[in-house]
Each structure stands twice: as structure tokens, then as C-alpha cells.
């Protein structure tokens, strides 16, 4: 067993992940039962993090891969079963299984080809699509505002922008409200429910290129997202995609609206 003094001398090296494997196991065993070393290690890890804290633009499609992996794991041995999903209204288990059909590896291969195409666009797109779910309603007050409240609040904001998305034949299929800070909400939708295995996907057109904002599910209901970065989208488009989503549109745009 490593002594306290021996362990103490190696904490900085441990914080940099620069120990040999055998030493690492020994020192971690000591730290686990030594509050003093644990505090010291925590502080040194904060120093290391400050050193390594440089932000890069996230690759397009990486979040989609992570999200897909989460849903894939539901089929396997993962102990957790998320009830709240990226997408519109809560989706059924059957729909989830359909989403898993698109493996993260497959997503990556598509993403890789698109990344090169989008490399020039210096943007960060982040999205979150919320679902009405009783599970979440039990969260604390900071987390529990309903989607409807958020939509109403957005519409009450004098700086809001309404974007009507119409089909090629000029039928209004969806309306979004956008706020200056990049948040957006689906106000209403006339889009019909899709078959199992399909999802609506929302795109922001930036510099003429469609960038995925997120999936809206088979039957879009409560949908929110945030689009940040410069330039902002000039247009919102909707396509129908396989249920795991796509990194570039794989089918014609069914609804489009200028921002």
C-alpha cells in the first residue's frame, strides 16, 4: 500500500493522467480513503482543466450520433431507459426501436462526408427539443415551465419573428416563433403523422447550406430549439427522414419558410 507521502508526491502527475498503469491503481486506492489527498487531487484537476479549456466548434452531427447511441443502448445491456426523448411528443417504444435501426456508425459515415462540405461554415448550432412529459414536470421550478408557457412568452416578446413554413404548393404546414437570442418554438403544425421509422427533421439554411437543427418526431407537437452562431439561418426547412435523422437532407423539402 502506498504511503500518504508517496501518494502526495504523485497527485500532480495523476491529475495530468501521466502515471504508469500500476502506479495509478495504487494511488487511486490511497486517494479513495484519504480525504486530504482527495481534496488536493480535486484542486489539481481543476488546474489541469483550466489548462485544457479551449473550445472548438462542435462537428455537425456529433450530437445526433450521441443521441442515437443512447437509443441504441436501450436495446442492449444498458441499465437506463430514458423516458424523455429528442423529438416532438413522447414517442412509443416501437418508434424508438425503429430509430435504433440507424446505427451511430452509419450516422458517422454520413456525417463525415457532410463535415467536409460544411467545414467553411464557422457556426455553432445547438438544439434542444423538448417533450411534454409528466416525468419532467416533477423537476424543480427552474426546470418545470411548460412548453406552452414558453411559446406564449415567446409570442409576447415584442422582438419575436414568426416564420411560416409552406409546402411547394403554398399550403401552410408549420409556424415557428423565433427570438433574437436564437431560441425557437413550434407554434402550430398541420404536418400529418408519419409512419413508424420516419421523422420530421428541421434544418436551418446558412450560407445556402442546410444545417440540421434537430428531429421533430413523427407527429410534431411541442418542439423547441436554440440556434446560435453567426450567421443565423436565412430559411427554415423541414424534410422527412429515417427515424434516426440524417446529417444532410435525404428527401425533398416538404415545407420551407424564409426567416
Amino acid at each position: 500500500m502506498m504511503t500518504h507521502d508517496e501518494a502526495s508526491e504523485l497527485l500532480a502527475v495523476l491529475a495530468l493522467d501521466a502515471l504508469e498503469d500500476g502506479e495509478r491503481t495504487e494511488i487511486e486506492a490511497h486517494v479513495a480513503q484519504c480525504p486530504r489527498c482527495q481534496r488536493e487531487l480535486d484542486a489539481l484537476r481543476e488546474v489541469a482543466s483550466a489548462l485544457g479549456d479551449s473550445v472548438e466548434v462542435l462537428p455537425e452531427g456529433l450530437w445526433t450520433s450521441i443521441s442515437s447511441r443512447i437509443h441504441e443502448d436501450q436495446n442492449g445491456d444498458a441499465p437506463r431507459t430514458p423516458e424523455l426523448l429528442i423529438g416532438g411528443l413522447s414517442e412509443s417504444t416501437r418508434s424508438l426501436q425503429a430509430r435504433r435501426a440507424l446505427s451511430s456508425r452509419k450516422v458517422r459515415s454520413v456525417v463525415a462526408s457532410f463535415s467536409a462540405l460544411a467545414a467553411a461554415a464557422i457556426i455553432v448550432l445547438a438544439f434542444s427539443l423538448a417533450s411534454a412529459n409528466g416525468h419532467v414536470s416533477r423537476l424543480n421550478s427552474a426546470l418545470s415551465k411548460s412548453a406552452n408557457d414558453a411559446v406564449l412568452a415567446a409570442l409576447a416578446n415584442p422582438k419575436h419573428t414568426l416564420v411560416d413554413l409552406k409546402s411547394p404548393s403554398q399550403v401552410e404546414l408549420a409556424q415557428f416563433v423565433l427570438l433574437p437570442d436564437g431560441r425557437g418554438y413550434l407554434v402550430k403544425s398541420n404536418m400529418p403523422s408519419l409512419a413508424s421509422g420516419e421523422t420530421y427533421q428541421l434544418w436551418g439554411v446558412i450560407n445556402g447550406r442546410p444545417i440540421s437543427i434537430g428531429l421533430m418526431g413523427r407527429s410534431p407537437g411541442l418542439v423547441t430549439f436554440t440556434v446560435s452562431g453567426n450567421p443565423s439561418p436565412s430559411e427554415l426547412d423541414v424534410t422527412v427522414e429515417p427515424s434516426g435523422g440524417s446529417s444532410i437532407p435525404s428527401s425533398p423539402v416538404i415545407a420551407s419558410g424564409a426567416v
Binding site: 508526491e9 497527485l11 500532480a12 502527475v13 491529475a15 495530468l16 493522467d17 501521466a18 502515471l19 504508469e20 480535486d42 484542486a43 489539481l44 484537476r45 481543476e46 488546474v47 489541469a48 482543466s49 483550466a50 489548462l51 485544457g52 479549456d53 479551449s54 473550445v55 472548438e56 466548434v57 462542435l58 462537428p59 450530437w63 450520433s65 450521441i66 443521441s67 447511441r69 443512447i70 443502448d73 441499465p79 430514458p82 424523455l84 429528442i86 458517422r108 463525415a112 455553432v124 445547438a126 438544439f127 434542444s128 427539443l129 423538448a130 416525468h135 419532467v136 416533477r138 424543480n140 427552474a142 426546470l143 418545470s144 415551465k145 411548460s146 414558453a150 431560441r183 411541442l222 436554440t226
Partner: protein, 190 residues
């Protein structure tokens, strides 16, 4: 909707524990760039960095209780996870060849990198100052270990120094940096 954009990191992790993928998406939005940035810096390979980033967020999803807010910030926790994943990858045999081919370039520009590419947050100034105040030999040992994923034994070979000397340089350098950051009021390093 849930105003996750206004929630604290700790609240988000609590929500992730309750199966909220939206909360995980918000954590990704806040810290994904840093997690990916560090992995990419260490691995010098975008695809491997994406894999490391995925693993970090999947682990947070599957084991949110591993984050203890009393022991540090979520960003620091995620960066530590990212670094560990990246180092694991870079020490694998498959990555070794790629890494060796990159080493010459990285070594040549390491000083420039350290001075110009560290973060864009409020602590940037203080980190730069802390680095600037380190003796060259301490800074170099930390660079090789942290940004290039070498063990201290490997660092000792690269620098042709005794292992004990390298351990001391890393320890002293980290403590010096810590002192500067403490003086600057950076939280969590006290």
C-alpha cells in the same frame, strides 16, 4: 418547455439522472465544445476526438452519479473524463503510429500553442500568466504529459532527465500554476 438554458449544471445532472435527454443536450451545448476541443488537442485527430466526446457524454448519461458537485465543476469533471479517454486512445497501439507522425509537428509548435490556444473564458488571462511564469523545464514537462498524453516515464526519456526530476517538475509546475490561479480568485483550485 423546461428552461434548461437557465438551469445550473448541477440541476442539469439531476435531470439527466431522471432520464432527461434534453438536459443532456443542454450540457452538451454548454461544454461539448470544450470536451471535444481537449480531446482533439490531445489526439490531433478529429474522428478519434469525436469518439472520445461521445464516450464522455454517454458515460454521463449512464452514470450521472459519478459527478459530485462538491468535488468540482461539471466542466472540470467532463474535461477530466475527456482527457482520460483521449489518453487511453493515444496510448493504444493503433494510435501510436499516428501519434508519432504528429509528434514532430506538435513539438515544434507546442510553445506557440500553449501561449495562444488556451481557452477563451475569463480564466484565459490567468492561465496564460501562470504558464508564462513557469520555468521552461517545468512547462515542457507539463506540456508533454498533458497535451501529448505521455506518462512521466516517457517524458523523462524524451527530455533525457531522471524520472524523479520529471515528477518534481510536474509537481512544482502544477503547484505554481495553482498559486497564480488562487491569487486570481479562480474557484475550485484552492
Amino acid at each position: 418547455m423546461q428552461e434548461f438554458s437557465e438551469a445550473s449544471d448541477a440541476q442539469l445532472v439531476t435531470s439527466i439522472g431522471r432520464y432527461s435527454e434534453v438536459a443532456l443536450a443542454e450540457v452538451y451545448r454548454r461544454h461539448g465544445g470544450a470536451v471535444y476541443g481537449l480531446a482533439r488537442r490531445v489526439l490531433n485527430n478529429a474522428t478519434e476526438a469525436e469518439d472520445a466526446t461521445q464516450e464522455v457524454f454517454l458515460r454521463l448519461w449512464n452514470q450521472p452519479d459519478r459527478f459530485d458537485p462538491t468535488r468540482g465543476s461539471l466542466r472540470s469533471f467532463l474535461l477530466a473524463q475527456s482527457h482520460a479517454r483521449a489518453v487511453d486512445a493515444i496510448r493504444s497501439l493503433n494510435s501510436r503510429r499516428v501519434r508519432e507522425s504528429n509528434d514532430a509537428v506538435k513539438t515544434a509548435r507546442a510553445e506557440y500553442d500553449m501561449q495562444h490556444e488556451v481557452g477563451d473564458l475569463a480564466v484565459t488571462h490567468h492561465v496564460a500568466r501562470a504558464l508564462g511564469e513557469l520555468p521552461e523545464e517545468e512547462r515542457r514537462a507539463i506540456e508533454l504529459a498533458y497535451f501529448e498524453g505521455h506518462t512521466y516515464v516517457e517524458v523523462a526519456k524524451i527530455l533525457n532527465q531522471p524520472e524523479g526530476t520529471v515528477k518534481s517538475r510536474i509537481r512544482n509546475g502544477m503547484q505554481r500554476m495553482r498559486s497564480v490561479l488562487v491569487e486570481a480568485g479562480i474557484r475550485g483550485v484552492e
